[in-house]
């Protein structure tokens, strides 16, 4: 079955152009789709199917429009440096 996929933000590094059609076997889920696009397991992302946020277990149907977005959380590994304001650090 044929579906439409759109990648956003840094997920665009996995496909050029970032919007494309792809053929996948019926019965596939989002979890099955991700490796086909080259997105590694455990890469955190938001999935929107036909305007609705969906889980990785969502079964894909023919004609679905799927958007993959980065998670809207955030945080840097270098927190200890970040939290120490320059003025604070020089104190």
């Amino acid at each position: 079955m044929k579906i439409e996929v759109d990648l956003f933000a840094d997920l665009r590094k996995f496909a050029d152009p970032p919007s494309f059609e792809i053929d996948i076997p019926s019965g596939s889920t989002i979890r099955d789709l991700l490796p086909q696009i080259g997105i590694p397991e455990g890469f955190s992302l938001l999935v929107v199917v036909n305007e609705v946020m969906a889980s990785h277990d969502r079964e894909i149907r023919d004609g679905d429009k799927i958007g993959l977005f980065p998670p809207m959380g955030g945080g840097e590994e270098t927190v200890p440096d970040r939290v120490q304001d320059k003025e604070w650090r020089n104190k």
Binding site: A9, L45, L46, V48, E51, P71, M72, G74, G75, E77
Partner: protein
Amino acid sequence: MNGWNGKGLEIDLSTGNIKEIVPDKALYMRYLGGRGLGVRYLFDNVGPETDPLCPENVLVFATGPFTGTKVPTSGRFAAVSRSPLTGTIFDCNSGGRFGVHLKSSGWDFLVIRGKAARPSFVTIAGGRASIEDASHLWGLNVKEATKKLSDKGSVMTIGRAGERQVLLSAIMNDADHSLARGGLGAVMGSKNLKAVVARGHLEKPEPADPELFEKYYQDITRLLIASPVSSKGLTAYGTSVLTNLINYMKILPTDNFRKTTFLHAEEISGERMHDDFKVKSKACFSCPIVCRKEEKGTDRALPEYETIAMFGSNLNNVNLKSIVEANDLCNDYGLDTISVGTTLGCHLEIEGRNLSPEEIIELVRKIGENEGVGEALGKGAHKYAISRNAPQAAMEVKGLELPGYDPRGVLGQALGYATSNRGGCHLRAYLVGLEILGKPKLIDRLSFMGKSGLVGLFQNIAGVVDSLIVCKFAMFSVGEEEFANILTALTGEDFPSQSLIDIGERIWNLERLYNIKAGFGPESDTLPERFFNEDGSGTARRIDKAAFLSSLREYYHFRGWDENGVPQPGKLKELGLEADGRDGIIKAVAQITK
């Protein structure tokens, strides 16, 4: 008291008197700081009949117990006043550095009252506060005023818009952070107060239990940085990354909320901004999320999602450069980008034509200068639309312009807009996390089912978050339990997690009482008629009014209010509001319920 200085300053600009206020410890325990403390002060001291732009109105700037500590996202402070735009009680909060400097200067809060005879600014440093002549600063916009004062400390100032008492004017701190909404910049301007500059000694507040504090700090940090090697939307792109997502869900305000999807969203998206501009990141004090983005070289702030939505899609504007310029100009004049953008959307609809990018920039300038058509536009969408005999074109609730999420596709957010104590605001319930981002858990955005309780609960949590104070983005990952734990470790006082929700509910009810006394009845808990009568795009269908009203009734019930949305004595007793005594709350309720 660990976590607080235990005192604030009252500065009377009319008399030049500055005195120290030492509130009862109970006030801190029951309202914490920030929004809570400010709302309590306003309720007790500024009657709802007070003209917001007269000397009797008061501006409270308040930090919270977390301000200045290393609790993630806590470098914030709040401003509370009666809004000249909405007439409601009103609070904003802002990041940057100012709040940290204020707190570490030895005072938790400032109360500004009266009106100075000539333009003035206040300095706070070395344990002293003074009122100084600002004649040389009056007439300057934010960047220049900030530059001129920055050797004295962290600067909070108004631009020319605030001086001219434009109702959409903001108060800016640290150049490009804003207490944006509700026209609080005009309140400052009406007092002839150009700026407040604070330089703290920057000693970290000592936690009552340092070991436990460190443990809970690590817990919160872990929750915020759930998966550090994965892609990070906000950290990498800032809030502008929402543009494509919100458009994809077909809830992006477009053409003054007449459509909910924008064909050219990609051209104004965060992704495009990263391609077209040299972007660098900037963090607020003590924040690991680092969502702010600036342009390398010019150091000008790049627009947040809300600004992109209101100046981009909502004005059918595909020119990203003009959105960046409009954002910069608003910051410099000290204007609220959401309210200005939404008011220009109203103008576009009434004029029946699109505005060119050059025209948009020129209109922002005119609003900032309060000249020509800018004078009428600067009064906000509600008053502007009435003056043009087209009230249906004003996209606002209680006089506050709506932000970047079309309510037809997020029904909890819709109820949140309608019931917000400060009007059309996305941050008072902030169901964006639950309904759009799935944080902390995804719920069905197209149903009212269960939303009344959730809206109430999240309004209460937001009330406490705004009083501690931490950033709303922390709510995506961190709950009241973690905040209660670290507050207990910081202060040495026992704060069970339910007590925080109770504090939020106390604040919410107090604000509601103030607004009722100011004349806001249940008829103001609604949305512009467009959302009940016209479909948006895709799943964003017109809202079923009967379902909306039923959800609103359920919300009142959940809150312990009567069918007119009036808090009942039983609820006020439960929240301990009547025990607060001297404020006359019970008398106020008795009058209302008569």
